[in-house]
C-alpha cells in the first residue's frame, strides 16, 4: 500500500524530512511525533501535494507526486486545520467538489453527497453555510468530503483533535468498516493502540518503526519522561 523510499525534503535550505523509508501493507498505520516533528509535512508529501527533494513515493501503486489523476483515487487527505481544506461556501458544494472532479455524473454526485451526510446523521446540513458551523462541525465536513471520495488510502492529520466523544466513537466505527487503509497522524499514542504498524517521527527522521502497541508505549514513556522534567531546553529544537 505505502512505499516511501529514502524521502528527503528541504525547504529554504532546512531539512524538514530526512531519509524516510516506510514500506507497509498495514490497514492501520499510525504516525506519532511531537509538535513540529514533521508529521503534517510527511502527510503532504505522502498525498503527493509537496514534491520531495529526494527519494520516491508510491501509494497503492501510484506515483502520487507525478500522476495526479491516479492519486485522486489512491489517496485522500484530511488536513489538520479545517480552514486549510474548505474551498466552498456550502456543505453540499464542498462534498460534491471532489466527486465531480473524479468525473462522476451529477445525479450520482448528488446521491453520494446525501448518503455521506446520512451516514453521520447530518442530512440537515446539506445547504448550510460552512462558515457558520463550529470548528468541530467544520472538521466533520472535511472528513465527510474525503470519505465520500472513497480513496484506497486515507491520511488523517489529527482527526479527533476537534471532535466530541460521540462523533469520535462513531467515526471510529465508520473507519473500521471502511475498506480504505488508514494513515493516522497523532501525538496521542492511546488512540492508536490497536493499530497494526506505527512510525515515530522526531526532527524529520524516523526514530522508531514497528508494531503499533510497541512503538506507542515507547513513545508514550519517552513523552511522559520529557514532560516530567522542568528543564525545558530539551523541549525546544
Amino acid at each position: 500500500m505505502l512505499d516511501l523510499e529514502a524521502v528527503d525534503l528541504r525547504i529554504d535550505g532546512r531539512d524538514i524530512l530526512r531519509d524516510i523509508t516506510v514500506r507497509s501493507d498495514a490497514r492501520r498505520l499510525a504516525v506519532l511525533g511531537r509538535n513540529g516533528s514533521g508529521k503534517t509535512t510527511l502527510a503532504r508529501v505522502m498525498a503527493g501535494l509537496t514534491p520531495p527533494s529526494g527519494g520516491s513515493i508510491q501509494i497503492a501503486g501510484v506515483d502520487v507526486t507525478r500522476d495526479r489523476r491516479g492519486a485522486l483515487a489512491a489517496v485522500g487527505i484530511l488536513f489538520q486545520n479545517p480552514d486549510h481544506q474548505i474551498i466552498f461556501p456550502t456543505v453540499e458544494e464542498e462534498l460534491a467538489f471532489g466527486l465531480t472532479q473524479m468525473g462522476m455524473p451529477e445525479t450520482e454526485v448528488r446521491a453520494r453527497v446525501q448518503d455521506t451526510l446520512a451516514q453521520f446523521g447530518k442530512q440537515a446540513w446539506s445547504g448550510a453555510a460552512i462558515h457558520q458551523l463550529s470548528q468541530g462541525q467544520r472538521q466533520l465536513v472535511c472528513l465527510m468530503a474525503i470519505l465520500a471520495m472513497a480513496p484506497k488510502v486515507i491520511i488523517l492529520d489529527e482527526p479527533f483533535a476537534g471532535l466530541d466523544i460521540p462523533t469520535s466513537l462513531h467515526l471510529h466505527r465508520v473507519l473500521d468498516q471502511a475498506e480504505a487503509a488508514l494513515v493516522h497522524i497523532t501525538h496521542d499514542p492511546r488512540i492508536i493502540a490497536d493499530y497494526d504498524h506505527a512510525l515515530w517521527i522526531e526532527g524529520g527522521m524516523v526514530k522508531m518503526q514497528g508494531p503499533a502497541a510497541q512503538v506507542g508505549s515507547a513513545f508514550e514513556a519517552a513523552m511522559i519522561e520529557l514532560g516530567g522534567r522542568d528543564d525545558l531546553t530539551d523541549l525546544s529544537r
Binding site: 503532504r44 498525498a47 501535494l49 495526479r68 489523476r69 492519486a71 485522486l72 485522500g76 487527505i77 488536513f79 480552514d83 486549510h84 481544506q85 474548505i86 474551498i87 466552498f88 461556501p89 467538489f97 471532489g98 472532479q101 462558515h131 468530503a145 471520495m149
Partner: protein, 204 residues
C-alpha cells in the same frame, strides 16, 4: 518587504527627512515654473552629479530606477522632432527626469521609519480633529502583514484544490480566495479586539 531605500549609506541619509521633503517640493515647483531649456539642462546635470556623489553602486542603482521612463522620453522626442519643436521636447524630457530623479533621491536616502515620523507629524492636526491616528498606523502595519499571509493562504487554497482535483486550480479559486481573505480580515479584527483594539477609551 523591502522598501526602496538605497543599498549604500550616504551623507544625505543623516539630513532631516522633513527638510529633504520641503526642498523637494520647492525644487519641483521651480522646475515646472522655468521654461528655459538651458536651465533645465543644468538642473538635470546637477541631479546626475548628486547621484554620482555617493559612488558607483548608488549611481547605478539610482539610474536603473529612472529606466522605466524611457518610453516617455522616446515618444516625446519622436513627436517633437516630427513637429519641428525639438527644443520643447528636450525641455519636457529633462524636466521630467530631474523631477523624478530628485524625488527618487529623497526616497532612497530616507528610511521608512523617518518617512513615517514625518507623516505622523503632518497628520497630528487631524488627530485633534478626532481622526484615529493609531488606526492609520496599525492599518499600515497590517498591510505589510497581509501581503505575505495572502500569498500563503493562496498556496494553501491551491493545495486544498489539488488534493481533490486533477485539474489545476487557476482562475476558479479567485472567489474562494477573496472569501478566505475577507474571513481572515474578520479574524484579525476579532483578534485585535481581544487585545484592546482601537475603541478602548470609547464606551460604546
Amino acid at each position: 518587504m523591502i522598501s526602496l531605500t538605497s543599498p549604500v549609506d550616504t551623507r544625505a541619509h543623516s539630513l532631516p527627512a522633513g527638510g529633504k521633503l520641503l526642498a523637494l517640493c520647492l525644487a519641483s515647483v521651480a522646475l515646472f515654473a522655468v521654461r528655459d531649456v538651458w536651465v533645465h539642462l543644468m538642473a538635470a546635470l546637477s541631479v546626475l552629479a548628486l547621484y554620482a556623489l555617493p559612488g558607483r553602486i548608488f549611481f547605478v542603482h539610482g539610474v536603473r530606477r529612472l529606466w522605466p521612463l524611457w518610453p516617455f522620453v522616446a515618444v516625446i522626442l519622436a513627436w517633437h522632432v516630427a513637429t519641428g519643436a525639438t527644443q520643447d521636447g528636450l525641455l519636457i524630457c529633462l524636466r521630467m527626469l530631474s523631477a523624478v530623479g530628485l524625488a527618487n533621491l529623497v526616497t532612497m536616502t530616507t528610511s521608512l521609519s523617518e518617512m513615517m515620523a514625518v507623516l505622523r507629524r503632518l497628520l497630528r492636526p487631524f488627530g485633534w480633529l478626532g481622526v484615529n491616528l493609531r488606526a492609520i498606523e496599525l492599518a499600515a502595519a497590517m498591510v505589510i502583514r497581509f501581503t505575505p499571509v495572502l500569498a500563503l493562504k493562496g498556496s494553501a487554497l491551491t493545495m486544498a484544490w489539488r488534493a481533490r482535483s486533477r485539474r489545476r486550480a487557476g482562475w476558479r479559486v479567485i472567489v474562494p480566495f477573496m472569501v478566505l481573505a475577507l474571513d481572515d480580515a474578520d479574524h484579525v479584527a476579532e483578534a485585535l479586539r481581544a487585545r484592546g483594539g482601537f475603541d478602548m477609551d470609547r464606551t460604546t
